[in-house]
């Protein structure tokens, strides 16, 4: 589950230094990845994980972000297809079990 940090090949027009805002963006993303690791983007929870990532960035910059924006950004750092899903995600929902409506639903008093 190794990730390769690859710098994009093309270098922005004037210099080697990225725009500050670009760096900010990448930093925030990497920060967010501590909560939402790439491995989780490969399993059954992936849409909610992506939602969390998107929300994080949206809040950090007070700018709209879409799930696709985030995935594109992520693509600078990870080849998601190569990332192995979290083990825990593959274990969930393995055990068949009859649906059971919890006790609280049967209480007739208004809850």
């Amino acid at each position: 589950m190794e990730s390769l940090y690859t710098r994009p090949c093309k270098i922005p027009n004037s210099s080697f230094r990225k725009e500050k805002s670009e760096l900010e963006l990448e930093l925030r993303l990497l920060e967010a990845l501590e909560i939402y690791p790439p491995a989780k983007l490969r399993g059954i929870h992936r849409h909610f994980v992506l939602y969390g990532l998107t929300e994080y960035l949206r809040r950090s910059f007070n700018q709209p972000f879409s799930g696709d924006d985030v995935l594109k950004l992520l693509d600078r750092f990870y080849n998601l297809e190569m990332v192995k899903p979290d083990d825990e995600d593959t274990e969930i929902l393995n055990q068949e079990e009859d649906f059971r409506l919890p006790q609280s639903y049967f209480v007739t008093e208004d809850s």
């Binding site: 909560i35 939402y36 989780k40 059954i44 929870h45 992936r46 849409h47 909610f48 994980v49 992506l50 939602y51 969390g52 998107t54 929300e55 994080y56 809040r59 709209p64 879409s66 799930g67 825990e88 995600d89 969930i92 929902l93 393995n94 055990q95 068949e96 079990e97 009859d98 649906f99 059971r100 409506l101 919890p102 006790q103 609280s104 639903y105 049967f106 209480v107 008093e109 208004d110 809850s111």
Partner: protein
Amino acid sequence: MVSSSKDESGSDGENSSGNAPESNSECLFAGGEKVLAYHGPRIYEAKVQKVDFRKNEWKYHVHYLGWNKNWDEWVGMDRLMKHTEENVLKQQALDKKAGVDKNPKSGRSSQVKPKSSSDGKLDKEETKNNVAKGKKRKADSGIEKNNSAAEKLLKIQIPSTLKKQLVDDWEFITQQNKLVKLPRSPNVEDIFTKYLDYRSKKDGMKTDAVGEILKGLRCYFNKALPVVLLYQKERDQYHEAVSDNITPSNIYGAEHLLRLFVKLPELLAFVKIDAETLIRMQQKLHEFLKFLQKNESTFFLATYDGPKITEGSGKGKDN
């Protein structure tokens, strides 16, 4: 102290009737007897209502004292203990382990709060109090793996008319032996599409977040349906209706989607999500539920198909 000596016919299994070869041949508990019963990680006071000998072992139908009779069930001797001081100590030990204050509860409190933290706050104390108030939770294997995950459950408020749908749903299937007629129209996919339409008209362009959440729900639904969203009696129907290339979300509808919401907090417990995002998610999920409620008459079936399975007693607690 419980003496371990069984009476004569017990251990060697040679019974005069010849049909109970093993040591289970002895009936350990009597009808009307107050006992202690294991249920999930804890022990509860219960009363034996009836006794039966099935498949070479004694089974006891118990009613948990102070609990709604919906919880009544058949259990084997492995789940039961005599109501002795020694066993009461065991009960208390497990209560302690579960972090429960042993309140003298006179029956069940009428308001049973769902086991979750309120308002998205991660309040462990509150959750423990809810457990003490008597929310009996069966240890769902495969989903609720550890306590700490369960304690931070996202609270999903299901509107009361939808709760009633779930109870009716339970009633139709488990008590009346009926089934939802498949395939459903609208199905889950249709409902999602309608919701996106509805939201884009309301919010303008900003449906990206909602879209992602719906994708997440779809993902869960398709995986979860055959595993944890079906009542026992629906399994045959499932196998007939859903084969290799067919996804549940194209066959099932609002009835089963609603069940997903019952399980949703447990599923989401396995994903770490920051508190603020959790709150927004809660809002969005709630909005979706309100949409279901608004369209209740179009999305939900008023009646289910008559009994296809002929089972003797509709009283069977199959759930």
